[in-house]
């Protein structure tokens, strides 16, 4: 009878699949209108996923809604895994992709990682191109709700740290207390940003299709493109600056956008310590990258170096992975530097991946604090964020996160280095997947297609691990969770 305890979880996954099957409709329309041959694939996907959803929902439709907080972990992981699997179906049917490729591409989309195993995007059925972009956009929607509304309830994630900062404004930051209302507000902002971004891209010269397709993957800081050359395809400085701007906006805490809108004032942005940190780090990375590009004569002029430096710094720091240049071919330390800055990963409560600015900041500050304590042993130097002292338990959660992050990266890298011959490839794909970045180095510098199937499955797992802030997935692997 213990299975009955999980009936509410099954019910939620069933309903979600029923809803998500509707996502096959827009690409189906594209396929029919353009007669690109993928229509049947989307019809079968729609039927399969909706029937599966119904099959999960129907037997437990009367299950009581007595979910405990701790069931939330299972719900979150089961939902994300189910959507990643469902999303893989059209790739198998329309592109004859292997299961490993299809699952990887779908997970890469939904997790907003944006690493691809497919090449020849410019000649792919237009409905599939649209579908890939849409996967990322839906993934972004999911993350916003997850990061701002659900994970804090489970006491996981960067928002907990960001919120713990302020005892005053904290109540306001909690947004509306009920998930449904919060979701509506955040989704409105997310959709609004997408429309504004698409309009700007269109005005700047993209086709309406490309404008929406890239707006989808900009607001979700995801990185899929409809062209093999990514943003470089358009070769337009104007478009690059627009992408840079909208990436910055999208990697801020969406709770800030909500507050700014509600108050009708940009003051909240100026007062946010996390935003300040993020802007400062972005500036440092951009100046460093531009300087190195210029000093190493990677481009003909300083202005060229600035153009590519600004764009790629933003693209990597926000864990997006859009390209205007093949960064893996840049000279000296630049490829490594850009892969590493992806760990910074924007603000909590955004669609970005990585460790998150706030955690990197606290970790660095802890190091400096201990140095200080050596000079002034008797001085009490509290760990602060903005003006407020950090709750020690929140700090503990950060050290715990960093510990598991390092542990996961080490274990995954060891396994992958046993599968892939090239060590640079092995290390960089794990790092890129865990940070939901997308680009990597070595054999996976532009495309992950040549990796082994087992690597693709493992990296699909890693992408979810990173996306769900590690804790959410790992807690399901502890025996005490299931005894609970």
């Amino acid at each position: 009878m213990r299975w009955a305890a999980y009936a509410p979880v099954q019910r939620i996954v069933g309903v979600l699949l029923l809803f998500i099957s509707l996502a096959f409709l827009p690409p189906l329309v594209f396929a029919v209108v353009n007669e690109d041959g993928a229509a049947m694939a989307f019809v079968i996907s729609l039927v399969t996923v909706s029937l599966t959803g119904l099959g999960l929902y129907w037997p437990v439709r009367k299950a009581h809604h007595d979910l405990r907080i701790s069931d939330g972990f299972l719900v979150v992981v089961a939902c994300w895994a189910a959507v990643c699997l469902a999303g893989a179906i059209p790739f198998v049917l329309a592109l004859d992709a292997s299961l490993a490729d299809a699952v990887f591409e779908s997970t890469s989309g939904i997790s907003t990682t944006g690493a691809t195993v497919f090449s020849g995007l410019d000649v792919m059925p237009i409905s599939i191109l649209w579908y890939r972009q849409q996967l990322q956009w839906i993934g972004g929607l999911g993350i916003i709700i997850l990061a701002v509304a659900i994970l804090p309830m489970l006491r996981v994630g960067g928002m907990q740290v960001a919120r713990a900062e302020a005892t005053g404004p904290v109540k306001e930051r909690r947004l509306t207390p009920r998930i449904a209302e919060t979701a509506k507000a955040l989704w409105a902002i997310y959709i609004g940003l997408t429309l504004v971004c698409a309009a700007a891209y269109w005005a700047a010269g993209m086709s309406l299709f490309d404008a929406f397709a890239h707006s989808f993957t900009t607001i979700s800081t995801a990185g899929f493109s409809t062209h093999d050359a990514s943003i470089g395809h358009f070769d337009s400085v104007l478009i690059e600056w627009l992408v840079t701007f909208f990436l910055f906006v999208s990697s801020l805490n969406f709770a800030l956008h909500y507050l700014a809108l509600r108050r009708g004032s940009a003051q909240v942005y100026l007062k946010d310590p996390e935003l300040k940190l993020f802007a400062m780090l972005l500036l440092i990375v951009t100046v460093l990258v531009t300087f190195l590009l210029w000093q190493q004569h990677a481009y003909d002029s300083f202005w060229e170096a600035l153009r590519y430096g600004v764009f790629q710094s933003m693209s990597y720091t926000t864990t997006t992975g859009f390209g205007t240049a093949d960064v893996s071919l840049w000279p000296g330390t630049l490829p490594l530097l850009l892969i590493l800055v992806s760990a910074l990963g924007g603000c909590a409560g955004a669609t970005t991946g990585g460790v998150k600015i706030i955690r990197v900041y606290l970790l660095t500050k802890q190091g400096m604090r201990e140095l200080q304590r050596l000079v002034h042993p008797r001085a009490v130097v509290p760990l602060k964020l903005g003006r407020r002292t950090l709750d020690p338990e929140v700090a503990n959660a950060v050290w715990g996160f960093v510990s598991l992050y390092i542990l996961c990266i080490i274990v995954l890298t060891l396994i992958v280095s046993g599968i892939e011959d090239d060590l640079v490839t092995a290390v960089s794909v794990v790092f890129s997947a865990m940070n939901n970045l997308g680009p990597a180095l070595g054999e996976a510098s532009s495309n992950w297609g040549s990796l082994a199937d087992s690597t693709k499955y493992l990296m699909s797992f890693a992408m979810l691990l990173g996306r769900l802030e590690i804790f959410t997935v790992l807690v399901l692997l502890t025996p005490s969770y299931w005894k609970h």
Copy 2:
């Protein structure tokens, strides 16, 4: 007049150089007896270093001994840097080595890292061979005193964590309160172990010269050899097991050896939680390495795999770097695995490098603790070591150490990857130097000679950084230290 404040520091460095210049006498004897042509080099070194020492000492010989605790950082760093520079002189004079090579080799010796830039050891002047081994042995002497007696006074290092564990036995662990007495006791153990080890090697078939030469670099877990093929030169299973045994003994906390001797009982070993952890991790690493060697058919039989697996697991986990095989050519994940385990680095209060078992354990436990707290939010799970709860401030010091360790590795790797073309080389030399391991991958797999001069200087810095537990060096770079 502010310089006067540093007169006692200058005095100590001067006296140390006077003493250390005596270290040129034994190799001088070897050079004269064997007429290997290096005698003049050691004479000049002796005169230069002793005169420099005298020059530093004489003007401040009457400086009052009013050293503050915080001056300790400067004393430690100045002493180590001075000895590393002094130790470089014979390499320049006898081998016509470049300054970068000489400084690197000397620092690698003194820090017990054991990476070498010289090849053709088997045809090198015998006095120089002896001198290299002796550098490491002296470095080991220095580390024991540093780790057990001096760094805890400065509130730095793994011993602080290991000691904080027990409020009961802590008093006993403090050993004798005065440094001089402690030093004598520890040195007696260190010298005794060296003699026993040399006798064992000799009995097992090494020449008397080789027996002492390798005993010097076993007890200091340092890794220099008198042969290019390292321990593999002897091709003797008996010798390999002896090395394994003495490496294990040398990577235990020397304070434990002291207590065991004083009480005449091995009970202290069995009760030590750090030792248990270390033994368990060693077992896991050994089983894993042996299994992978056997499963990947790297050797003809299981017994061969066991032989090489046991030896190299011990050699890397204790950050020694002795070789019986070229680990960088081992299949699959093995080279990366062995490089990574060097971060475990034996027990606090030993000559090993790395992060130290105790810190790795606490970091892992913190991750698990936070996972537990997600399942049981109301449960108070204190961070424990053995049976005692850890002082939060000691835990904070560990997170601070880990933070600075990661930060240093990232910054150094970024710089080196801008100098060296191969990314695997860049990452592995930094990791190896910071952990005082010795072997690396890529171009530096057996010999670091082909690296750029700037890399060699940087890695000399990294070796000292790792050796002096990071804090000791970095605190000198904070402005508040000098304002103090």
